[in-house]
């Protein structure tokens, strides 16, 4: 086993990995940029090294392969955990680690490269019999050709620019009669946008669900799947809420999707933790989307439903140990839901809201896990992804898990910066979400609606409370208050932290 692991990341995932190291008796090494000197991962690690004397730009710091390896070398780290984001899916980095004799905790550079290349991945996966969204094998040269393919795969179909992305050169076609004009439209738009008019054709999946399978493969050829996660609640392709199991899952479908995911991993000679993402249609047909070759943000929901520690298992696999269990040992129980808490303002187009957290009250009690990267008094920097924390609720059933996470979100208070707790209050109480009527377009539809006016109005009480706070503030500041005798009703010693030493003797 390793004695020392460097964590090439920041925020909650760095803290998550540091905790795993602590529990495994392994020394943890944090790295940090200039603005992250007081970040939680620096406080929690056994060792901490600054990446750059002054810069906090990702390229100079958390993405700086040379510098990361230099620190790892100098402090004697035997392995590097990349977390997610940053260098976690960078095959060059994985290769550079290997060359430097430092174990990269993740798949090999080869497996990463294969999965990073859309066309190669597709070829390899098709050879392994993995289902894709049906479509033309390549570009379709003419309306006639498009018509033939569409007839074969069935309407509705989607025309897509081969060189494309971002919605340009895309046309949804619901009936054959609309095909000719859509084909010409897509072609000319593609030409204008990308200088290439090649288009291809795929079956259009209506209201697909995003369901992914967690796999774990050791370096001795064993691979297991740990059930699914449903991540259909997305805003602009960013996951917002994830849960396990999926409400539409059956044991038989789970087995089929799980076995497919294992086939994907095996075809890529994949090792360590990975996630195979699928789209699932209303008939529960599933189609391969991509493989994420790293630990996912949403791994805790799998940890809660399987009772396993994925980071510990990642470390053990990287140290060459065999998986300590077989597929038959994997015991799913209960339901888990994760909310990603961001420093962003849901009332203002989800604008990021960096700044100092002046007050933080975290929820507790049964069925609540929090993986946080911040603390009261921390200034959330503007340089990176504004995720503050992940809150995960667990319960025996989906309903119990939802009740618990709703209760926990209601207990949570973050002062000083804007955050998306109000968004979760809304989603978690939404009838469609409660009924699991969700797909990847669900949240955008919800956000397009006006929010219900809250029935729970305490404006008068808020006005009174504002006066009470002002009374204690001026009392604490030693100012003359207009009405003597009011200030002492809310005793100064209670209010002012500086005076709290009195409290211990009272």
């Amino acid at each position: 086993m390793f004695n020392k692991i460097l964590i090439a990341n920041r925020g909650e995932i760095a803290v998550r990995v540091i905790r795993a190291c602590r529990e495994a008796g392994i020394s943890s090494v944090a790295i940090f940029s200039a603005v992250d000197r007081a970040a939680l991962h620096v406080l929690k690690a056994d060792e901490a090294y600054q990446l750059h004397p002054s810069s906090s730009a990702a390229a100079d710091t958390y993405l700086n392969i040379e510098r990361v390896l230099q620190i790892a070398h100098e402090c004697g780290a035997q392995a590097i955990h990349p977390g997610y984001g940053f260098l976690s899916e960078n095959a060059h980095f994985a290769a550079a680690c290997e060359k430097a004799g430092i174990k990269f905790i993740g798949p090999t550079a080869n497996a990463m490269e294969l999965m990073g290349s859309k066309t190669n991945a597709r070829k390899a996966m098709q050879k392994a019999g993995v289902p894709f969204v049906p479509g033309s094998p390549g570009g379709v040269p003419s309306v006639e050709a498009a018509r033939d393919v569409a007839k074969q795969i069935g309407y509705p179909v989607m025309l897509k620019a081969a060189a494309g992305g971002g919605g340009k050169g895309m046309r949804l076609v619901r009936a054959e009669s609309d095909l000719p004009s859509a084909f010409e439209g897509a072609r000319s738009e593609a030409l204008r946008a990308f200088g290439d008019d090649e288009v291809y054709l795929e079956r259009f999946i209506e209201r697909p669900r995003h369901i992914e399978i967690q796999v774990l493969a050791d370096e001795r050829g064993h691979c297991v799947y740990l059930g699914e996660r449903e991540c259909s609640v997305q805003r602009r392709h960013q996951k917002v809420i994830e849960e396990a199991p999926s409400a539409i899952m059956t044991p038989e479908l789970r087995r089929r999707m799980g076995e497919t995911a294992v086939r994907v991993a095996e075809a890529a000679r994949y090792t360590n933790a990975g996630t195979v993402e699928f789209l699932v249609d209303s008939e529960r047909n599933f189609y391969f989307l991509e493989m994420n070759t790293r630990l996912q943000v949403e791994h805790p929901v799998t940890e809660l439903t399987t009772g396993l520690d994925l980071v510990q298992l990642q470390i053990r696999i990287a140290a060459g140990e065999p998986l300590p269990f077989t597929q038959a040992d994997v015991q799913l129980r209960g339901h888990a839901v994760e909310c990603r808490i961001y420093a962003e303002d849901p009332e203002n187009n989800f604008m990021p809201s960096p700044g100092r957290i002046t007050r933080l009250i975290a929820p507790g009690g049964p069925g609540v896990r929090e993986d946080s990267g911040v603390y009261e008094g921390f200034a959330v920097p503007l340089e990176y992804d504004p995720m503050l924390s992940k809150l995960i609720g667990y319960g025996a059933t989906r309903q119990e898990a939802l009740e618990r996470i709703t209760r926990a979100i209601d207990e949570y208070f973050i002062g000083g910066i804007k955050h998306n707790l109000p968004l979760f209050r809304r989603i978690l109480r939404d009838r469609e979400f409660r009924a699991a009527n969700i797909d990847t377009g669900y949240l955008d539809r919800l956000l397009a609606e006006a929010p219900a006016t809250p029935s729970d109005d305490h404006e008068e009480l808020a006005a009174v409370a504002a006066v009470l706070f002002e009374v204690q503030r001026s009392a604490a500041a030693g100012q003359q208050t207009t009405a003597p005798g009011v200030a002492d009703a809310v005793p100064r010693s209670h209010w002012k932290r500086a005076a709290r030493e009195e409290g211990v003797r009272s």
């Binding site: 809201s353 707790l421 006005a463 009405a483």
Partner: protein, 171 residues
């Protein structure tokens, strides 16, 4: 003592006094209605208020826009920005956002201006994008708070801006 408290543009007159007969009990007269309650501090920036047996955990946070003068009061997860004026002490404070007149677009965060969607002198509709700033790897379009003419755009493309900086004035 008497205060004027403005929440959501609505002004409330709050008169607060202790109940002489029941220690610990307060009486507030707000807009003519009486509210009797007990209130105790429960940690920094937290009050426990019990009104007629109903228990409230009331939190206070400084508002990023207006600071201490108009703190946010949070009750059951809902935020009320409460601007305080004390008529007796004549420590009246200006309202942050007056109705009518020119309106400013303030930068809600530190960042960099990466695009201007309007030029000085342009007519814009309420809600039209005016300026795009980037922070935390995300681009954010700031919109006109009212219909009008863009009077000022002090920061050019590439400028660094701080939270609270005036990015545009719409008149």
């Amino acid at each position: 003592m008497t205060y004027e408290v403005i929440i959501g543009g609505k002004s409330h007159r709050v008169e607060l006094q202790r109940d002489p007969d029941h220690p610990g009990l307060w009486a507030a007269h707000i807009d003519g209605r009486e509210l009797r309650f007990t209130a105790v501090p429960a940690g920094s920036d937290v009050l426990s208020i019990v009104v007629d047996g109903r228990s409230f955990q009331v939190l206070r946070e400084a508002s990023a826009a207006a600071g201490d003068a108009a703190p946010n009061i949070v009750i059951n997860g809902r935020r009320y920005t409460a601007e305080l004026r004390d008529p007796r002490a004549l420590r009246s404070r200006r309202t942050v956002a007056e109705a009518g007149g020119p309106k400013k677009i303030l930068s809600p965060m530190p960042g960099k201006v990466i695009r201007l969607l309007a030029a000085e002198g342009d007519r814009v509709e309420a809600g039209a994008g005016v300026i795009v700033i980037e922070a935390m790897k995300m681009q954010n379009e700031l919109k006109a708070p009212k219909q009008g003419v863009v009077k000022k755009l002090p920061s050019g493309v590439g400028s660094a801006v701080n939270a609270g900086d005036v990015l545009a004035i719409i008149e």
